[in-house]
Subunit: 214 residues, 2 copies
């Protein structure tokens, strides 16, 4: 297959550090402000530039824009999310979720999926090491969306709805699903994220030796 | 564990598009030009900012800088690379590798690993969906290295040397290995990469429908 060399698009001028440091999960998207085809081309082109094993480029992207399809998909996402939490924890509404649980955010996303102007489902056409050849491109996609002012959240689908979703969009059975990314202008703000200091997550020359910083 | 909020470092001013579009695998590194601790902190901090499931932050980084350790590690990498190709294809030297094979590049890296000023091994402290919570951070690490003028290549280790490597550096057996990243100033140039056009890798609203661009 013919390959191409592209120049960086003029729209991606945000400093790389600013994009990384202000990239947070945006779960509340504005359903009334559309994402353009030109923006989607920019973020998908960026994804293609990421490293992947042997340049085999296994990643494949399904871009869903039709309102009706996103509503149907969002309903399925919502039902699957709550079915899983009901089975695992006995929760049937938000009041059941502990105050300090990350699941509160996830439940919010389950409400909001129907409002996403665009949803991208990421697959690969091969198994094995495909995750290591797919998620670097996913991060390029998320960073370039951030640079364009678009909000995203990296999420997944529950195994028990995959067959329905794949049937809904005609996805061949040999494709391997990796992640789901709703995209749109944020209702709310970008902003800093809280993380463990790298002095805690990094070893220096031998496991458990701290690096020379705090 | 206490978490921190950081501001983007002043060094990461390269436009995000330029970093993504000029990030190519750099397999030949300058052994005589050191990578500073301050640079390593910047790239590891960047890695920490990437999205990860439930902000559980499973990624752990082992930074190897000691020359003796890198030489020992590089020798092991070289031997394992050739053992695997001997078993799989009967190759015993570069002359055996077909001219147009991506393995020519990989064989070059097997030669060059000993010259890397720094090697980072990336692990996670949990299994399951850990790859999706690790490789977005790996891509941040690679992009910020690029923004600092440092070359990298995303590679892996062969399963049959993992035990030796983990013993060499005292890595606990419960850690899950994800990838190996040699880092240094390039001998050679950054430059464009060749990729499939996104019109080939993208479906629009239904699998197989092309997007509205070429």
């Amino acid at each position: 297959m013919e390959m191409v060399r592209l120049n960086p698009p003029a729209e991606l001028t945000m400093p790389v550090g600013d994009a990384m440091y202000s990239q947070r999960a945006i779960r509340r998207l504005d359903p009334n402000r559309p994402v353009t085809d030109a923006q989607l081309k920019i973020i998908l082109d960026s994804a293609s530039k990421a490293p992947n094993g042997g340049n085999a480029q296994p990643a494949r992207y399904l871009v869903i824009r039709e309102r009706g399809a996103i509503k149907e998909f969002g309903k399925l996402y919502f039902e699957a999310w709550w079915a899983k939490r009901r089975d695992a924890y006995g929760w049937t509404s938000k009041a059941d979720i502990p105050e300090d649980s990350q699941y509160r955010f996830a439940a919010g996303l389950a409400d909001e999926m129907v409002n996403a102007p665009v949803v991208i489902l990421v697959y690969s056409n091969s198994t094995g090491v495909a995750a290591s050849s797919t998620f670097p491109g996913v991060q390029n996609l998320l960073l370039s969306a951030r640079a364009l002012g678009l909000g995203t959240v990296l999420t997944t689908l529950h195994a028990d709805v995959m067959e329905q979703v794949n049937t809904m969009f005609g996805v061949p059975s040999e494709m391997v699903f990796h992640c789901c990314i709703p995209i749109g202008y944020p209702r709310g703000n970008f902003g800093p994220t809280s993380r463990l200091p790298t002095s805690v997550t990094t070893s220096w020359d031998r496991w458990g030796n701290p690096p020379p910083w705090k």
